[in-house]
């Protein structure tokens, strides 16, 4: 057995009985015990039940028609509720919260036969771009342990990147799958808003949150998406459309190139994407320059809207029915206030206060409504670009993984990390982040952005690219991470 195996190969090996699902689970669990202390991607490892489920998978594998992901290990971001296994959202507030139910995503993936290894670290309540706001400590980038893995799905991205799991779920509100995937050199997809059920996925900003897959390649991402997606009557915002379908493999695309986005971009990163652009052309796709308006205002609008939604989504954490409650309190209000103050970290408080501010009497029109109007302009900008192109090629991050603690003191600088991912989130579009090079031994990513529900096309674009390149097959050496 070796790390970094893709789904297709794992499936073939399991069915050919080269190893059992139990052996495979042991392999990954060992890998976690070896690496997790230094990388800190898992908040909770569910070893016993993982092995039980692997044993059950082995029984299925003995049958004629095992499920698509039968016996393949997976790690869930710690905001997907898992019955009987704690779900913390990387917050002291939910530090010992055991949800009485499985989220739809977790349930569907289990039905597809995958075996849960544990729950991955993240920014607290998914609020962050560096995984430094977790109550359970910072996650380290497997390529360089002094660097951040990105966030908020930093644990998910680092766990795949370091080979602790072949597949991981994440969630993306303003870039939280794409940015860490990019900084950790793996492939991740933010699906169209409504493609993947939000039921049981603990909310940050409901109109933006979307669960999605992280893996080593676009084809693995597709495999996991197939298990995650689908209409869910328990989520009113879930789209009632069919499964993602890949287009014909020889289809050539018109790829939009938003040139003005590259003006302020680090030259080395721009060079990686420029090279990718040429590779697409060499593959027979056509490049067309497009304009994306209001990108700068989009970040501001995003922070207003996401904070506003978060401020009320997090009002349910009051210490009454679950979650942290303070030990001593004078009265009800004091109990609320102490429980919440003790339960939430500073970044979460900052967003709650920002959101409360923008929804308050007197500020609502200037902030919240204005932001919703900009949201429309941003979305319409994309929709008109998609009248002439099939997808858009864009950067994911303005820089490679940065030093831990380097941006922590300046929230606005930190928010600007999401400059390229946020407009896509506001527009609810699908976007695939995938590796396209290295700068100073750190991975660089790019994203392929599609029209609503065009996951099939952007995945096909990614698969075509990965068929010709091997950036996704580079893996960190992990020498300094190993503890054994």
């Amino acid at each position: 057995m070796k790390p970094f195996i893709g789904v297709q190969e794992l499936r073939n090996d399991l069915r050919a009985k080269k190893y059992s699902a139990v052996e495979l689970a042991h392999f990954y669990l060992d890998c976690i015990s070896e690496l997790n202390d230094s990388i800190n991607c898992f908040i909770t490892v569910d070893a016993d039940r993982c092995l039980d489920r692997a044993a059950a998978a082995d029984r299925h594998l003995a049958e004629s028609d095992p499920q698509p992901l039968c016996g393949i290990p997976i790690a869930h971001k710690d905001l997907f509720c898992t019955a009987g296994l704690r779900t913390t959202c990387a917050s002291n507030m939910l530090g010992s919260f055991i949800a009485p139910y499985d989220s739809t995503v977790v349930k569907q993936i289990a039905e597809a036969g995958a075996v849960t290894l544990g729950k991955t670290n993240m920014d607290e309540f998914a609020m962050g771009s560096s995984n430094e706001t977790s109550w359970f400590g910072v996650v380290r980038n497997p390529w360089n342990l002094s660097r951040v893995p990105g966030g908020s799905s930093g644990g998910a991205a680092a766990s795949v990147s370091s080979g602790m799991t072949p597949l991981a779920t994440g969630s993306d509100t303003g870039g939280s799958i794409r940015q860490p995937a990019s900084l950790c050199g793996i492939t991740g997809l933010k699906p169209t808003y409504g493609r993947v059920s939000r039921f049981g996925m603990i909310a940050f900003a409901s109109s933006l949150d979307q669960g999605g897959p992280l893996a080593h390649s676009a084809s693995d991402v597709y495999e996991l998406l197939a298990a995650m997606e689908g209409h869910d009557p328990q989520d009113s915002t879930s789209a009632d459309i069919g499964k993602t379908v890949l287009p014909e493999s020889d289809r050539s695309f018109v790829i939009g190139y938003p040139e003005s986005l590259f003006d302020d971009l680090d030259k080395n990163i721009a060079a990686c994407i420029e090279r990718a652009r040429q590779q697409f052309e060499a593959l027979g796709h056509r490049i067309e320059v497009v304009e994306l308006p209001h990108i700068d205002a989009a970040i501001a609008a995003y922070y207003v809207l996401s904070s506003a939604e978060a401020s009320t989504n997090l009002a349910r954490y009051d210490g009454v029915r679950y979650g942290h409650r303070t030990d001593v309190s004078e009265d009800l209000l004091d109990m609320y206030c102490r429980s919440r103050t003790e339960g939430f970290g500073l970044e979460v408080k900052r967003r709650i206060l920002t959101g409360t501010y923008s929804l308050s009497v007197g500020y609502f029109d200037a902030y919240y409504l204005k932001a919703q109007k900009i949201r429309r302009l941003v979305r319409d900008g994309f929709l008109s670009a998609f009248e002439s192109v099939d997808m858009i090629l864009a950067p994911v991050t303005p820089n490679t993984a940065f030093e831990i603690n380097s941006l922590k003191a300046d929230p606005v600088e930190m928010y600007k990390q999401d400059l390229y991912t946020i407009p896509v989130s506001l527009a609810g579009l699908p976007a695939l982040a995938l590796p396209c090079g290295f700068v100073d031994d750190l991975p660089v990513g790019m994203q392929l952005i599609g029209p609503h529900f065009a996951e099939g096309e952007v995945l096909a674009g990614g698969m075509a690219f990965q068929g010709e390149t091997d950036w996704h097959e580079h893996h960190p050496s992990l020498e300094s991470a190993s503890t054994s």
């Binding site: 029915r321 009265d331 408080k349 949201r375 609503h452």
Partner: protein, 95 residues
């Protein structure tokens, strides 16, 4: 951002901050508000606000009642319960 505004936001949010955090948050909020004012540069006259990016309509659920949960399991994770009630510090009846 003045003290009164911060105090009001804290009350509305049921949060409190020690002096050090309060100063930090004040600086951050000032910076964030300065930063989001970039929105003013965009002309949004006659632009309708957009709440969801994908044009979907609200689905409706059939009116069927089911019991699919166990109160004891729910209350096993609650900080304080008795006789099936969730308990909070005594609220004095206002009337």
């Amino acid at each position: 951002m003045d003290d009164e505004t911060i105090e009001r936001l804290l009350t509305l949010s049921q949060l409190s901050l020690d002096i050090e955090d309060r100063e930090k948050i004040r600086r951050d909020l000032d910076a964030i508000i300065g930063f989001i004012e970039i929105m003013d540069q965009v002309n949004t006259e006659e632009v309708e606000p957009l709440a969801h990016a994908v044009d979907l309509d609200q689905p409706l659920r059939k009116d069927r009642a089911v019991i699919d949960f166990d109160r004891d399991v729910f209350q096993s994770i609650a900080p304080k319960t008795a006789d099936g009630f969730y308990l909070v510090p005594k609220v004095l009846d206002q009337n």
